[in-house]
Subunit: 412 residues, 2 copies
Amino acid sequence: MADVVASTRPYTIAPVDGGITAPRGFKSAAVHCGIKAKAGALDLMVLAVDTFASVAAIFTTNLAKAAPVLVSKRHLEITHGTGCAIVVNSGCANACTGDEGMTHARRMAEEVALDLGCEPERVLVASTGVIGVHLKMDRLVPGIHRACSNLAHGNGHDAALAIMTTDPFPKEHAVTVTTARGPFAIGGMAKGSGMIEPNMATMLGFLTTDAQVAPALLQRALVESARDTFNAITVDGECSTNDSLYAMASGNSGVVVDDALYPALLEGFLTVSRQLAIGIVRGGEGATKLIAVTVHGARTLDDARQVARTIANSPLVKTAVHGADPNWGRIVCAAGRSGVALDINRVAVRIGGVLLFENGLPHDEAAPQAEAILKHDTVDIDLSLGAGEAAATIWGCDLSAEYVRINGEYRT
Amino acid sequence: MADVVASTRPYTIAPVDGGITAPRGFKSAAVHCGIKAKAGALDLMVLAVDTFASVAAIFTTNLAKAAPVLVSKRHLEITHGTGCAIVVNSGCANACTGDEGMTHARRMAEEVALDLGCEPERVLVASTGVIGVHLKMDRLVPGIHRACSNLAHGNGHDAALAIMTTDPFPKEHAVTVTTARGPFAIGGMAKGSGMIEPNMATMLGFLTTDAQVAPALLQRALVESARDTFNAITVDGECSTNDSLYAMASGNSGVVVDDALYPALLEGFLTVSRQLAIGIVRGGEGATKLIAVTVHGARTLDDARQVARTIANSPLVKTAVHGADPNWGRIVCAAGRSGVALDINRVAVRIGGVLLFENGLPHDEAAPQAEAILKHDTVDIDLSLGAGEAAATIWGCDLSAEYVRINGEYRT
């Protein structure tokens, strides 16, 4: 996961500051409008392009889709993947809110469009926070106008703060991709598993780039990069009503990304998204350790992902890692129930590179060494299936009593 | 779940004492042989039939099957579903133990066969406890001989104690089924989610009956009854290497169960199994509440089960119930990601009969009433999908900090 990729590839990638406003052509502003109770807490942000952007998006697969998800999906259909701005509030998910929720989500887009002088369909909407509660539009609408009148290049960090719910830290990252056609930038921010009142984890992610990319190619890069980053993480196996991932391409760098330059864009998206996705896991509710589960030697990529995901979601594996217990038996057991056909006698299990199980037999002598490794804040679990050539990594976190406290504490 | 079923059915069912030795023709004995460290703790039991029994079994679907599971499966194939005895040890799962583990599991059957004077293939074997550790055969073999020389009718309760690992209480139940052809008895015992050293949950269940039932019909009754009982519970969504469910029919009552009397046998199996299965959930690691998730109005039975299971396994729902939080949003969200096609606007959610969500909108005024209900030790979650006629119930439990402590505590 080195951040600078040189090698024989015809491009280089290097980190830069600035988050989502690192690429040229993007302005943002964040305000406190009063959706979050805490005085001064940023709870609304607008991200706008100077002119016009290609927009790609991936939405939650949950059938209980929140109003902002439904509205944004429709807007992108109408505009064929183009747009001018995204407005995001935290503190209220506007989910399970019926027709009134739909009206509110549309209104958010309309108010931004009014200020920017564009069609409402060119504005996308995202919300995160408590479910089943209506947005306080009397607070939100003035907030939108304040944000729109304060739009500026370089406000990326405030934007990353404004989309947080109980995230312990903001997640942002940016890189410059230098190609034969010149450099372009990619910025990103994300929020992870959090809640306002005990409610639900929502993942929101936003990528920006000043490369010039057609909507279809941008969508392809977003889907491909999300597969091994945002879609390769798990905090508790839940999938929210509001999960959304957006990419916007302003074109302001003048670098045209076509099929020839696509690998550079994809690698840049992967680099930024991996950083953000791992940040989400590290900031997962009650998480104290990042667990990277890598499965190789699988027959297919889907098999590798399925086994890795089952292990990363296993409460028994998660609690064992939490307690620094080199409990390879739970790992083998999770693999065995993953639904993937495998021969246990060909499976090898390593924790932090230490071999604990192979040829159907334990290596108990290695347990103390693995135990020491399990005390680190990043734990690599590695499974070799001996069935083929496919490999995949899923990032998860441990399960702590703090997770239970956060999500189960009596509502006050 | 009334235990006495009279109504218009041509049989009645009433509870009796005695557990697995309530039916005639079954003897058992339990001893401490030293697999469990604690002095005097029962860790080995033998259940034998006076003559000969039909035997049915369901084994774990986990591909990492433990040696006793593999040996018993083979024995039942050889004998076409007949047998003389079952031997069970707790404290060591004999899983992930390679060829030596297979030899040990076979040896357990051989030693019992020697004492009973039957073929080793007529003896079934089950183990539960820590994974990846070899059985101490120098302790187990003398234990087997002691148990076999102490076999007696009416030792059912000791047997239920001997199969426990960290189960907080033994699970046993028995009934008499009175039919037009006369009465027969059904007994049962089970162990649930527990561990010796922090390891893994294993479910073992044993049913006995003195009805005379052919192996195929016995297998059918076991599979059908397990579907809505042992296979309708979840503690943490894990499925062990050792899970086994057995039924033995001695025939000693003289009542022949054929197709005509099958409903009485099935209902008896359901009654005993439901009691044992709910006991397993109540005794789940760290569990403080039983959660019965009922989904009705589903298009198919599979749909109803899938939605109910997703809700019962959702860590966010489990922690909410633990904290007595009437968080219907998490329930709707879990239903939405269950993989079952449903229209959220037709879904109604009730907790303890209190309507909290309907027609896409919350009923927040009912939250305090639901909150009071959530403080009870049994919580009914009810989802109406409005899509069809199928219904199913899955029993689960809450997720507490104690679960994390039990499974994650640093191994000493």
